[in-house]
Amino acid sequence: MQTAQAAAPTRRFWRLRPRLPVDGAVTLDRRNLYILPTRGGLGFGLLLLTMLMTSLNYDLSLGFALTFLLSGMGMACMWMAYRNMLDLTVTAAGADNGFAGQRVGLRLRVHNAETGARIGIEAAVRGGVDGVDGVDDVGRRESSLTLDGDGSGLLAVYLPATRRGRVSLPRVTLSSRFPFGLFRVWSYADLPLSALVYPAPEAAAPPAPVAMRDDEDGSAGASLASDDDIDSLRRYRPGDPLHRIAWKHSARTGRWLTRTGHTPRQPSCWLDWHTLPAVLGTELRLSRLCAWVLAAGDGVELGLRLPGVEIAPGHGAAHRRACLEALALWPEKPRTSGGA
């Protein structure tokens, strides 16, 4: 079934053939599960050999029994190790974006459809940094993942975030050394998952230029409206946001009341690529913008203007994420349109 398209340019080593997901999930079936003894396993083999030689030389019947029983256990170990990984399904479960110079995390969900527990599953990627994390259903965190029967859990691999942009998950090696560390069983998964690396925020960035919008007056920095300056009150209707409820009046009158009228103004500003000093290079500009986006906090309404990309002023976590995403991908356009 090997097609010309896949085989022609680079004839891949059979073992390294892509393990693409079907319906988004890679199943570690027996055609893609490999097993080899570990160094500890070879050591155990040596131990068994020594035991055998001793038994042979001194003709120890009990020695033979012990040696062969342990060999049998070793055989069983091989089977147990294999069973431990067989038919697990792996799906992509999201990414933890990071800043350049730090690391990004890519999460995989491992699902065990069978009734037996699966012990000590690890994930590794080429060039990955330490800190492989497993989180099971109950939320326990260990360096490896252990699944109960018919359970699933998350495994995260971390990649160094060297450059701004998109980091896609390379081939993941899932492995386990259960039960005695004598054998390592492993398989591969190629999952379509990527994380974003935001520009590293500039360490000593100057304060953000507060470029007031034209329609803004001097009350931009005013604090939140208190209950006392009421424009008007009306009866509470289901769906009114909590922060519009006039708590004091409600308490006084014994009825739920909602404030209407002017919303308190948010300060707002534009972070503009073009207003930055011309001496700064591309990455430095992005770094500074990134630092400003992070520094702004939830209280400030801000918009982002990059060559070819503009994100309307807004605030909140989603807005900030949109800004960071735009900064990470520029000059590529982000998938989601900015603005909250």
Binding site: L47, L62, L69, T146
Partner: protein, 667 residues
């Protein structure tokens, strides 16, 4: 891999250290039964040090200190080897290994160290069997071994605790491993001769007979209930008076003790095997008896055969002397089993002139005994009559059979015959042979065991150290060497029922003669179990292996049979893999193949996509295969959703054909 190294560097928790110490202590404990006390004390000291550090949660000692300890241990081992002249080689090696494992435990910081200690503990378990392999040790090893494995599992996967039943898991693994273990045990070829030999004496000092005979040397053994040998005798049950287990012959008497034939090579030719012995038997000779003997280690070379042995077979290299003694080429330092054939009576032998001189040689002294014998020689012409005269003397006079004979004077024989007249079998054998030689009848002393307790449950005879005995053989022309037991004349019940019966109540405190019936049967039952254990497990060797294959009708050699068995087991292992449940619905299976095929070409089906949507997208992404994709999808949707019931075979074949066409168009 980075994860592997980090895993091996995982520090060991306090409780895990405790488990490691505990399991090592349990593995080493039974070594105390064979190791010299000083060595045991050293091991206990090292282990106690480790334990104290653990108790106080103190830091582990520095590497320098450990290096000094290792050096000390090696020096001690060297000193011990030098002091004992190298006779403790094996014990010293085992003790050194034990000491080094404890030292390793003293610098155990990471998981890899703990794994090494665990694995070496398993090896130490094996060294327990070097001295002997009693049944309780097998049970002990299974228990400790299982515990070691459990700790090992927890070391590597602490997360298992509370999520997985560990003992059932280990049990399941043992069950999977058992067929391999049994097959290997039964068919793994055994060596005929050891590859190397570390000298090993017996520091404990086992009770048993020595190769000289002096008054009192057998009496020392009479209190020992230790088993000397067990025997299966074919044919009808023999009376106790026929059970003379002959070990060796003594010719030379120096007035105080009997010594083996000095200046004369003890070892003769290779012993004939049992099969060849039939031909050696003279016509009309006494009936032959076939039997097998399981002999406990004696640290001596001699083997015990019933009366006059004619052939021996087994895993041993054996020799037979001109006196009809049988020897192993090396001292028997482990339990051995051999088959043998004997005649109950004289074999056709000759007496050379040299032998006649030696069989009549006497040390100077003992004038009264010489005088008595000379009188017999004058009165009786026939040597047989002189023998009878001596036996009459013992039977009639106030001779007594006792375990605590009074001390003898300088002239041993005179002193016994005319003064004390109380003695044990060696006194009677000595005096009798002395009298016979003085009377001109060639005679010699024979040492061995006499009697044996018949165990009706195991259907075998148990011969103990307490059954040690000495008797005489005289040369009668025309009959050869004839066994004469002077003890039978003075205490016939010793021969019929064993020393216990004679000494009951008088000398022996813990006599088995008054044993309760149920107790005796219980003892027999236990002994029968022990015997079966030795026979079927411990004595399983090359010969038995070959015999088993022969009995099973297997014509292949042992290695061939082993390879065949392993191949069959390997195939059996594959069965669960091959029989894994596949997708049962052929339609779904085919669609799965369809999806995988397209996924390989870059068109992957999303979880939310139905077959129609997916096909529509595939037609756009892969225009070169558009008609084939459409054809397959239409057919699939019609079969799966359009028609009730299972699809016809022809329809399935058509769908398969469509898939093949698609694969072709993508190529």
């Amino acid at each position: 891999m980075s994860t592997m190294t980090t895993l091996n560097k995982r520090p060991i928790a306090h409780e895990e250290h405790g488990l490691l110490i505990g399991q090592l202590a349990l593995v080493l404990a039974p070594q105390a039964r064979t190791l010299p006390v000083s060595v045991s004390a050293l091991l206990v000291l090292l282990l106690a040090w480790r334990w104290l550090l653990w108790r106080r949660r103190a830091p582990l000692p520095s590497r320098i200190l450990l290096g000094i300890c290792a050096l000390l241990v090696m020096m001690l081992a060297g000193a011990l080897t030098w002091q004992t002249g190298g006779s403790l080689g094996r014990d010293v090696a085992v003790a050194m290994l034990g000491a080094f494992v404890i030292l390793k435990l003293l610098e155990c910081r990471a998981l890899s160290d703990a794994t090494l200690v665990t694995q070496l503990s398993l090896y130490l378990l094996l060294t327990l069997y070097l001295s002997d392999q009693p049944f309780w040790l097998a049970l002990y090893s299974v228990a400790i071994g299982a515990w070691v494995l459990r700790n090992w599992l927890l070391l590597h996967h602490p997360e298992v605790r509370g999520r997985l039943a560990i003992w059932p898991l280990l049990g399941r693994m043992a069950l999977i491993g058992l067929p391999w273990a049994v097959l290997l045990f039964v068919l793994f070829p055994r060596l005929e001769h050891p590859l190397w030999h570390l000298p090993q004496g017996d520091p404990v000092g086992r009770t048993g007979m020595s190769d000289t005979l002096r008054p009192g040397s057998i009496g020392e053994l009479i209190l020992s209930p230790e088993v000397a040998l067990r025997a299966d005798i074919e044919g009808p049950r023999l009376p106790a008076s026929a059970l003379y287990w002959r070990a060796f012959v003594l010719w030379y008497y120096d007035g105080a003790a009997w010594h083996p034939n000095e200046g004369q090579p003890r070892y003769g030719r290779d012993a004939p095997p049992v099969e060849a012995a039939a031909a050696n038997l003279a016509d009309g000779a006494a009936p032959a008896v076939d039997y097998s003997v399981t002999m406990e280690p004696s640290q001596h070379a001699w083997l015990f055969l019933l009366d006059r042995g004619v052939g021996i077979s087994g895993g041993l290299r054996t020799m037979m002397s001109s006196d009809g003694e049988f020897f192993a080429r090396e001292p028997v330092d482990r339990r051995v089993r051999y088959r043998a054939r004997s005649t109950l009576g004289a074999t056709g032998e000759t007496l050379s002139p040299v032998q006649r001189v030696r069989a009549l040689a006497l040390p100077p002294g003992n004038p009264r005994s010489r005088e008595l014998a000379a009188g017999w020689a004058q009165r009786y012409a026939s040597p047989a009559d002189r023998v009878q005269a001596a036996l009459r003397l013992f039977a009639a006079a106030p001779f007594a059979y006792t375990l605590k004979p009074p001390p003898l004077g300088g002239e041993q024989v005179d002193s016994f015959l005319f003064d004390t007249r109380r003695g044990f079998c060696e006194h009677y054998a000595t005096s009798f042979v002395f009298l016979m030689r003085a009377a001109g009848v060639p005679a010699r002393v024979v040492v061995g065991y006499q009697g044996g307790e018949y165990n009706p449950i195991g259907n075998n005879y148990i011969v103990r150290q307490a059954d040690a005995h000495a008797w005489a053989e005289v040369w009668l022309a025309g009959r050869g060497w004839v066994r004469v037991d002077p003890t039978a004349a003075i205490a016939p019940e010793r021969i019929e029922s064993g020393a216990d019966a004679v000494l009951a109540g008088s000398d022996l405190e813990s006599s088995r003669a008054h044993e309760a019936r149920w107790l005796r049967e219980l003892r027999w039952g236990v002994d029968g179990l022990v015997y079966s254990w030795q026979r079927w497990v411990l004595q399983y060797d090359r010969t038995r292996q070959a015999k088993l294959l022969q009995d099973l009708g297997v014509t292949a050699s042992v290695p061939q049979a082993l390879m065949l068995g392993l191949a069959m087991l390997s195939l059996l292992v594959l069965v669960p893999l091959l029989r894994r449940p596949r997708e049962r619905d052929p339609l779904v299976a085919l669609h799965g193949r369809f999806c995988r095929l397209l996924a390989r070409h870059g068109c992957e089906r999303a979880a939310s996509e139905g077959p129609r949507d997916f096909a529509a997208r595939a037609v756009q992404t892969l225009p070169q295969a558009a008609p084939a994709v459409q054809a397959f999808a239409d057919r699939y949707v019609r079969l799966r959703y359009g028609t009730p019931g299972a699809p016809a075979k022809a329809e399935l074949a058509a769908l398969r054909q469509a898939l093949r066409a698609l694969a072709k168009s993508l190529r």
